[in-house]
């Protein structure tokens, strides 16, 4: 029997800074589940992959996640996580660069960096944690807030349509795309595993529960259990969603692996080619 006073989880003991735990997150926050997805993916990938991984994060609740890992992490400016990660990957192409961003961080203030990272097809794994509003600052409207939802800054309902990140990045030129919720645990973990090994820009959108703001304001479900139940009932796999009309899909989360292509060249490879060409000409 393990005494419960000084108990530490197996994964946490191996990969996390347990001295600064418990987390700063609210009770029932899905970011802890996303942390576990990442750690379990790396447990299966092996120690070698873990040793050459660097985490980059922006500002927001999601910016906290890599700071709990016993691994090099850069906590950067708001929205500029991908800019930092691009520089890191360009200078050290042998590293796995994993960026954990929120929806405001990636699509709101850093939307420019996101589409251009996808256009360059640079080998970064972007894990985009979406909770449908800005939760760190108190529940303001964000680019992923559904139409008609009430938040702190839209008390009469949101009049703007929300982003469809998968379509945006597909058009921009990303080469691995997947969207899951925290309910789809195994699928998301497998996607992260694939994305880390993938050469090229890989983006995984994970819709997670924020019981404190998204639960209270948008879904009227302040209990994390109810929110996960809502994800279970309102997420449709990609194959099933193909045969349905747009009216049926309104307000649903379409989950699945959207894209996996290998025909586009990665940015750091192009960079090395250019370097060698320039060296040859100079002499």
């Amino acid at each position: 029997m393990i005494p419960e006073a000084e108990f530490e989880h197996v994964l946490a003991k191996k990969y996390m800074r347990t001295e600064i735990m418990p987390h700063a997150f609210c009770p029932g926050c899905g970011l802890g589940i996303i942390e576990r997805m990442i750690l379990m993916a790396f447990e299966e990938l092996g120690q070698e992959e873990w040793d050459r991984t660097v985490f980059v994060s922006g500002i927001g609740c999601s910016g906290w996640t890599p700071l709990y890992f016993r691994r090099d992490a850069a906590h950067t400016l708001h929205g500029r996580a991908l800019a930092f990660a691009t520089a890191l990957k360009a200078s050290r192409p042998d590293l796995n660069v994993v960026v954990v961003m929120g929806d405001g961080d990636s699509m709101g203030i850093g939307g420019n960096h996101l589409i251009h990272a996808a256009r360059r097809n640079i080998g970064i794994t972007a894990i985009i944690a979406t909770n449908m509003l800005y939760s760190l600052t108190g529940g303001q409207m964000s680019p992923t807030t559904p139409e008609g939802a009430r938040t702190n800054t839209t008390p009469y309902g949101n009049i703007e349509p929300n982003f469809d990140l998968m379509e945006l990045l597909k058009a921009a030129g990303a080469t691995y795309l997947a969207r899951w919720t925290t309910y789809h645990f195994i699928q998301a973990k497998n996607s992260i595993k694939k994305a880390v090994k993938h050469k090229g820009f890989a983006a995984i959108e994970i819709v997670f529960q924020c019981p404190t703001y998204a639960g209270r304001y948008i879904l009227n479900r302040p209990d994390p259990r109810d929110m996960l139940q809502w994800f279970k009932e309102n997420s449709i796999p990609l194959g099933v969603a193909k045969n349905k009309s747009p009216e049926e899909l309104k307000g649903k989360i379409i989950v699945g692996e959207y894209l996996h292509r290998t025909d586009r060249k990665e940015y750091t490879e192009r960079l090395r080619e250019l370097e060698e060409r320039a060296k040859g000409k100079g002499r």
Binding site: E4, F7, E8, M16, M21, P22, P27, G32
Partner: protein, 112 residues
């Protein structure tokens, strides 16, 4: 999912548990329950009330956001089957046993 694995203990940390009860929502076999007393952090922790029903599927562990819960498996002993399982789940168990042997070789949560 393991069929006849005996679970020794479901350890819930005093320090880490925040009382969101996602573990209770996730459990398909109704093992966990909320305790009556509050601990020193003021949280009514979940505890394994019916541990003989636990089949070590580890869903509670996976959905815990705070790394506060762990299913500890007894590796020497096997669990005794419940009466209901003997009656209705025999064929299913036989099928699952094959998968168990595959799982044993790899990482414990690795499927196929």
């Amino acid at each position: 999912m393991a069929s006849q694995v005996k679970v020794q203990q479901i350890a819930v940390s005093d320090k880490l548990c925040k009382g969101c009860y996602l573990c209770i929502w996730a459990c398909p076999w109704d093992v966990l329950e909320i305790s009556e007393e509050r601990n020193w952090r003021g949280v009514k922790k979940p505890y394994a009330a019916r541990i003989d029903q636990c089949r070590a599927c580890r869903l509670c562990e996976w959905y815990c956001p705070d790394f506060a819960l762990q299913v500890i498996v007894d590796e020497k002993e096997k669990r005794e089957l419940l009466e209901v399982e003997e009656k209705y789940e025999r064929p299913w168990l036989e099928r699952v046993r094959k998968r168990d042997e595959i799982i044993k070789e790899g990482v414990w949560w690795l499927e196929d």
